[in-house]
């Protein structure tokens, strides 16, 4: 599937391979070794649990926002098909197989389920107590925020990096929407959701207002 898609994009010059460079439209891309990312997560999440994963979330959120703007998707008014494209690209890029369980345009809410390849690698190296995939949640939150114009977050409530868990579940939306969903359907995850959201908001505060939409220097 990947080679067919790549060849199609290459024919239109949307994907370009240079000497040591790969470009998707205006964005440079790199293959990353998942074992490095997993090991980096395990170590840094242990050394700096308050901030590390929140920064990963926020950097990914900005990448999700860029995904919409740099690939000229803004012309689409409804964000739910954009999430469909995003999920297809997640699979294409090797993040894992995901599906949208529920996407509510009116309320800016998304429920995503699937298997994260990084999460599986983390489980192989050292199973985690808490969910670990802040990148996927960030990518989705950034994409949604572009359209909803409301502060959007995501909480992973179960993750394949955890022992005996077979599927990741990510809830994205405004803080109150996320919490009301979790309160109703997974109340045992409320404490984790609060902790996770509080940490992200604390880092956002430290970064200062406007960092998210700052244009590059």
């Amino acid at each position: 599937m990947f080679m067919d898609t790549i060849s199609r994009y290459m024919a239109s010059r949307y994907v370009r391979f240079g000497d040591g460079e790969i470009w998707f439209g205006d964005l440079r891309c790199t293959f990353n070794f998942i074992p490095i990312l997993a090991r980096e997560f395990i170590i840094n999440n242990e050394l700096d649990p308050e901030r590390y994963s929140s920064i990963v979330f926020l950097a990914a959120k900005r990448a999700g926002y860029d995904f919409v703007t740099k690939h000229a998707i803004p012309l689409v008014k409804n964000w739910t098909p954009v999430i469909g494209i995003g999920i297809e690209w997640l699979s294409l890029y090797g993040h894992g197989l995901f599906r949208s369980v529920k996407a509510d345009r009116e309320n800016g809410f998304l429920l995503l389920s699937g298997r994260s390849n990084i999460g599986q690698e983390i489980k192989g190296q050292k199973p985690s107590t808490d969910p670990t995939d802040f990148t996927l949640g960030g990518l989705m939150a950034g994409t949604m925020e572009y359209y909803t114009k409301k502060p959007t977050y995501a909480v992973e409530i179960s993750c394949v990096a955890q022992k005996d868990v077979q599927e990741c579940v990510i809830v994205a939306g405004e803080r109150k929407t996320i919490k009301s969903y979790i309160e109703k359907f997974a109340p045992e995850k409320m404490e984790w959701a609060d902790k996770s959201l509080d940490r992200i908001e604390a880092v956002e505060k430290e970064l200062g207002e406007g960092w998210f939409r700052e244009e590059p220097a």
Partner: protein, 216 residues
């Protein structure tokens, strides 16, 4: 470069399926390099040198595994192994490197080139100090694999810095690195020494935590 990429795919060494990408036995993921650069910038802002040191340590481990699994089988010279690493780095869109010098006997190498993550970092916000600890780690892992001894790396200049067109990594044991830099770029000796000390401190911290036992 696409021809090389396609050859790896056609030969089945690079496998692309719904289950993800595989490069031999290693699972891969495709990221926007801007994401890598931004995450590095924010995490190093908060986590400082310890964060960068952990980036080096995990990449060094990966460099060793890469050589074990995909590297040159010709162990007659360190340069053979580094050459195979350079090809992998190029193929994966990480950057473009060349060997400036290498010494098999002492397990020492100097490489120059460009790091794509560092170029993105410069576009985002130029850095005061070198930023690519991943490439440094991958080279150090390759050297470690060859010498069977722990290797370090110091990036003495980096394209993430304003006015710099090429990165330089000095790799080997601590003394050889510092002696080389003392002669070739004396103004960078102190920074290089601190980089290596930061890596050693992070190694000790990781080693002292039972919860991280066996990760590195």
């Amino acid at each position: 470069m696409f021809d090389l990429f396609k050859r790896y795919v056609d030969e089945g060494y690079m496998k692309l399926s719904d289950e993800g990408f595989w490069f031999g036995k290693e699972r891969m993921i495709f990221y926007y390099t801007t994401f890598n650069a931004r995450e590095l910038m924010l995490n190093s802002k908060f986590g400082g040198s310890r964060y960068l040191a952990t980036k080096f340590i995990v990449s060094r481990k990966e460099g060793q595994l890469l050589m074990q699994q995909h590297g040159a089988q010709d162990m007659s010279a360190l340069a053979n192994l580094i050459d195979s690493l350079i090809k992998i780095i190029n193929l994966l869109g990480i950057g473009k490197l060349r060997i400036v010098e290498s010494d098999s006997k002492s397990g020492f190498a100097v490489l120059s080139g460009t790091s794509n993550a560092a170029l993105e970092r410069k576009a985002e916000s130029p850095s005061d100090a070198p930023v690519d600890f991943v490439i440094g780690g991958l080279i150090a892992g390759t050297v470690s694999y060859y010498t069977k001894r722990k290797a370090y790396a110091a990036e003495t200049k980096c394209v993430a810095q304003n006015g710099v067109e090429e990165c330089t990594w000095v790799v080997g044991n601590k003394d050889d690195i510092l002696n080389y830099i003392k002669d070739s770029a004396p103004g960078k000796t102190e920074a290089a020494q601190k980089t290596i000390e930061d890596i050693e401190a992070a190694e000790n911290e990781i080693g002292s935590r039972q919860s991280l036992n066996g990760i590195i």
